[in-house]
Symmetry: C2
Subunit: 279 residues, 2 copies
C-alpha cells in the first residue's frame, strides 16, 4: 500500500537508459539535474541568491561544471541571470506546472493528429495496443488486489509512458518530441506520468475512484488508438486533448481542495528517485 503526503507521482525511469546517462554524461549535465532537483524541492528559496562559489562548495565540484550547469538551467528557466552579479532562483510554482502540462498536452494532441495522418503509422500501432493491454491488465490486478501495489502501479506507469512516447516519436515531427522534452524537466511533467491523489489508498471508496480514473484514462487511450488506426486526425487530436486535460483538471481540483499545495508536494515521491537528466 502506498500512501503519501499530498499527492504522489510515480514515474517510469527507463532504468537502463538512466544508468547509461548517469555514467556516460559528463558531470555538468548531471550537476544541472541535481541543482534543478534541489530547486524544485525548495532547497533554495524563491528570491534572489546563489553564487557560483557557493554551489561549488555545496556540490563539491569546481566552478567550470557549475557554470556549464547554470547555463543549462538558465535556458530551462529555473534560474535567471539578472542585471547585477547574481543568479536568481526562479523555482516553479504549481501554476507553472499547470501551464507546462497544458502546453505538453497540446503538443501531444498535435502528435496524435500527425500520427493519424501519417502513412507509416501502422508500424507503431502494435506497441500502443500492447501498452493499452498492459495498463488494462494492471488495472485488473489492482482491482482484484483491492489496493495499490507499487510494482503493479509501476508497470502501469511504464506502459502509459510507452503509449505516449510512441505517439510522440511516431508522429514524424521530431520537434514535437523535442519540444516536449524541453518542458519535461520537472519530474511530474515527464511524458506519460500519472498523478495520484494521496487519498487514493485511504478508503475503499477513494480507491475505487482512483481505479475509475485509470479505466477512464485507458479508455481514452483506446479511443486515441482507434482514431489513429483509422486515420482520423480530428478525433485523435481531440481525444488526446481531452486525455491530457484530465491531469490539469485533477491537479486543479486538488489545488482548490488544499490551498497549501506546493510543488514540493507534487514531487514528493519522485524526488526520492534519481531524476532523468535529459534524454
Amino acid at each position: 500500500m502506498l500512501v503519501f503526503n499530498l499527492i504522489f507521482v510515480l514515474r517510469l525511469d527507463f532504468g537502463i537508459q538512466l544508468i547509461a546517462n548517469a555514467s556516460m554524461e559528463s558531470i555538468d549535465t548531471e550537476l544541472a539535474a541535481r541543482i534543478r532537483k534541489d530547486i524544485i524541492l525548495g532547497a533554495y528559496k524563491e528570491g534572489e541568491r546563489v553564487s557560483e562559489a557557493q554551489l561549488c562548495e555545496i556540490y563539491e565540484v569546481s566552478r567550470t561544471p557549475v557554470r556549464l550547469a547554470l547555463r543549462l538551467l538558465e535556458r530551462e528557466g529555473v534560474i535567471r541571470r539578472g542585471e547585477g552579479r547574481g543568479y536568481r532562483v526562479q523555482s516553479p510554482t504549481v501554476e507553472d506546472i499547470l501551464q507546462a502540462v497544458e502546453v505538453r498536452g497540446h503538443l501531444e494532441s498535435l502528435a496524435a493528429r500527425l500520427m493519424a495522418q501519417r502513412r507509416g503509422r501502422a508500424d507503431h500501432l502494435p506497441k500502443m495496443a500492447l501498452a493499452i493491454e498492459r495498463i488494462d491488465a494492471a488495472i485488473g490486478e489492482l482491482a482484484s488486489l483491492g489496493g495499490l501495489d507499487e510494482s503493479v502501479v509501476r508497470r502501469a506507469q511504464a506502459a502509459n509512458k510507452v503509449f505516449h512516447t510512441t505517439i510522440l516519436s511516431a508522429c514524424a515531427n521530431d520537434y514535437v518530441g523535442y519540444t516536449c522534452e524541453q518542458i519535461s524537466h520537472l519530474p511530474m511533467l515527464a511524458v506519460g506520468s500519472m498523478v495520484f491523489d494521496r487519498t487514493v489508498g485511504d478508503t475503499p471508496d477513494r480507491f475505487q475512484r482512483g481505479l475509475f480514473r485509470l479505466r477512464l484514462g485507458n479508455a481514452q487511450h483506446q479511443v486515441i488508438f482507434e482514431a489513429i488506426e483509422k486515420g482520423d486526425p480530428v478525433r485523435a487530436e481531440g481525444m488526446m486533448r481531452e486525455h491530457s486535460h484530465t491531469m490539469v483538471e485533477y491537479i486543479q481540483t486538488f489545488e482548490k481542495r488544499d490551498e497549501s499545495l506546493t510543488v514540493a508536494d507534487l514531487v514528493a515521491y519522485s524526488a526520492t528517485e534519481s531524476f532523468s537528466p535529459n534524454s
Copy 2:
C-alpha cells in the same frame, strides 16, 4: 525593389533589445549565436566534425566560452555530443524548418485559444487592432507603389510580429511563449516572420499574388482578433491554426517547385542581419 535568390525572409529585430543583448550578454551566448548562424549558413558540413580547439581558433576565444556555447547549442539540437570524443554538426534541413514551423503554429493556436478564454484579454486588444491597421496601411502603400519597398515591408513585419507576440504574451501561459522561443532559434522561425517568394518582385502578376497573400493573412488576423474579442476560443484557435499553416504550405509549394531548396536559401536575407541571440 527587393529581389533575392530563392526566398527571402524579412524579420523584425527589435533593434533596441538586440543591441542591449549584444552588448550586455556575455561572450558565450553571443558566441553560440555566431556558431549557430554559421552552422545554419552551411559553414560546417552536415556530418561529424568540429573540436573545441578548432572553434577557439576560428572565433578567437578561449575554450571556456566555446564549451559554454557548445552546451547551449547541444541543448538546441544544432550539434550533438556523441559516443566518442567529437561534436557532430546537426545542421537543420528544410524539413526541420517545416516541422518547427508546424509546432510553432500549433503553439500559437493554443495561445489564441487561451487568450480568447481569458478575462483580462481586453487590455491587449488595442495593440492587436493597431497592428492589423498598420499591416493594412502597409499593404495599401505597397499596392499604390506597385512594388516592394523595404521600409514598408519592414513596417509590415514589425506590426505582424507585434500581433503574434501580443497573443503569445497575453495568453496567460508563460510556457507557450517560452516554448515558442525555444524553437525560434532559426531566424525564419522567429514569431511573426513573413516569408516571401523571390519571384514576388519579378512580374506585376506575381506581385499581385504576393499582395493577395498579405491581404489574406491580415484578414485572418482580423478574424482571429474578432474571435478573441468575442471570447470564441474554438474559432480563435482554428483560425490561428489555419493562419500558421499558410507558411507551411507556402514553403512546401516552393520546395516542390525548386528541389534544390536549402536552408541557406531560406535565410538568404535574414543572414545579412545580426541574429537575435535568444530572448
